[in-house]
Subunit: 326 residues, 2 copies
């Protein structure tokens, strides 16, 4: 949640000149993204009518080789009518530009600005709309030619659990260590194969959805997008949307999310049968990444690490209540 | 440089409903301000034509009792045509609203959004424009009824120097400790009295000026504004604008800044004669506040503290070259 690199007006103007978007009118560093710096830009627009964009500088973590996947996916989905921000290509047609810096070249991408706000407590109507957009995304990406492995898949949960160590997990919460010890081996050994795969968002929390009322105006932050089990993406979205802040299950929101999804893309019998396990896996994925962040965030950092116990409790709910997916 | 408080869409919408600005279309936390959280908001506008605002939540440091001074000053200056953001009053006419929170009530103010970007390396033309706007601000505030003491005045430099201690200052740079030991007592004992006073911005660095080309579109961040010597405000602006990144004096920018100021408000003979000393004082003020921040910022904080040696070197330049103000 920060802007890591200072870009003065002169440098920002020079960067913007590499795109056909008019001249710079305003630039505000925005507090989004933990591994990149972001600015909300206003320009005169290529037609002089004014336009807004998000400029992202990739600071850490994301491999430059993955950028074309993320950015061309946005182009692909936007062209099919999905509410995702288009990538603005530079004057030479490139998906991103690079800027030399003291610690090496950094990549910058310019994407469309979309209206909308992220809800904290989704209504059933909002969950239904998100389910439908997720299914549309899955269908629209069906002919996307590129592929990317899921860097946060089953093997990574295991790696993160080992990196935290049983003592580290117990330091967060003894219950967390017990859950990982019992559930992780079971999830790994029973993880489904043969289910329909495709491009998934893989991180569709409410923070990554812009809405106006019940309408989805933007699906954003595709930096975990990859090729994996489609129904797993629905499970990730389910973990993210269908519980309240105290991790109590919200049955109406759950039903609406799945109905919304199935209104666009029907789940096969195997997919539906796998959802309880996929939900547990999705919960484990966030429990493990949060546990690692929890143990590796300096105590005085401005960012408060997210509680790994929240997804861990949701995992327990899925295990005890598979019928919510029936 | 962060957003300290999370405001979900629902809560943001409820806050916005307390103002006559239409409904929420977008809200982005922006990476500005170290003692408050800021959002760039888009709404449908009171007339449906769309409008943008900055929402500020006051988190630390600023005393609630000072807020009316800052916010009504913006109103006063905007009404006189100064390029400052208007304060948007709530439906009951209040300058700000309060929100209950776990650590007590917090105040939030909604101000106008202004276009423009902050330059890194000002041109003489830009400095001339800023000088003129600073003088217009001084004149426009001439009949502002409220008053506020300068919390970063001479007494505070002394307090900060003592709080850092000679060893603390020497740890930053032995030269800094020597400069403070030699120059601070002299500045305090010779600090001018009897010069014209009024409302001053007191922190008009390029970061706090929005520009489009040579035009000033916004003077922002009035949270150090106070009543003090008018020519001291010009001296602060001079320290902030008339040196390059290596602290070399930029004669053309200096001449343009002062000419721009005097094109609107002529300096009296005593004011002009005092400028070398006022410049040294302004440099000392930033050297001391930065020294304190330097010694009190955690090593792993996201914010890089600013170098106190930069204003300290500028202080030395003013002492050695009083003729630049002749």
């Amino acid at each position: 949640m920060a802007v890591y690199t200072h870009l003065g007006a002169e440098e920002m103007a020079a960067l913007i000149a590499r795109f056909d978007v008019g001249t710079l009118v305003s630039a505000k560093g925005i507090a989004e993204g933990v591994s990149n710096s972001n600015w909300l830009l206003e320009t005169t627009g290529s037609d002089g009518a004014g336009a807004r964009f998000i400029l992202t500088m990739y600071e850490f973590r994301i491999e430059l080789e993955d950028l074309p996947y993320f950015l061309s996916l946005l182009d692909h989905l936007a062209a099919k009518g999905c509410p995702v921000p288009r990538t603005i290509h530079d004057r030479e047609g490139n998906l991103y530009v690079t800027r030399p810096g003291p610690s090496g070249d950094k990549a910058l991408a310019l994407i469309e600005y979309l209206p909308g706000v992220s809800v904290s407590t989704p209504t059933a109507g909002q969950a239904r709309a998100v389910g439908a957009e997720l299914a549309r995304l899955h269908l629209a990406a069906g002919d996307f030619p590129a592929s990317r492995a899921n860097g946060m898949g089953v093997a990574e949960w295991q790696r993160l659990a080992s990196a935290c160590g049983a003592e580290g997990l117990a330091r967060i919460n003894p219950e967390l260590a017990a859950i990982v010890a019992h559930e992780l081996p079971r999830l790994i050994s029973s993880w489904p194969t043969g289910l329909p795969t495709g491009v998934i968002h893989a991180d569709l929390f409410p923070d990554n959805v812009l809405m106006l009322g019940d309408k989805v105006t933007g699906l954003i932050d595709f930096y975990f997008a990859c090729n994996d089990i489609l129904a797993y993406d629905l499970a990730v979205t389910h973990v993210a949307w269908c519980f309240d802040k105290r991790d109590s299950f919200r049955a109406d929101v759950s039903a609406a999310l799945i109905e919304g999804y199935e209104g666009v893309r029907l789940l096969g019998a195997e997919e539906r049968a796998a959802l309880p396990l996929l939900g547990q896996g999705a919960a484990m994925r966030f429990a493990m990444s949060r546990a690692w962040d929890w143990l590796n965030t300096p105590a005085d950092a401005l960012v408060t690490p997210k509680d790994p116990m929240s997804p861990a409790r949701r995992l327990g709910f899925y295990k005890a209540n598979p019928e919510v997916f029936a």
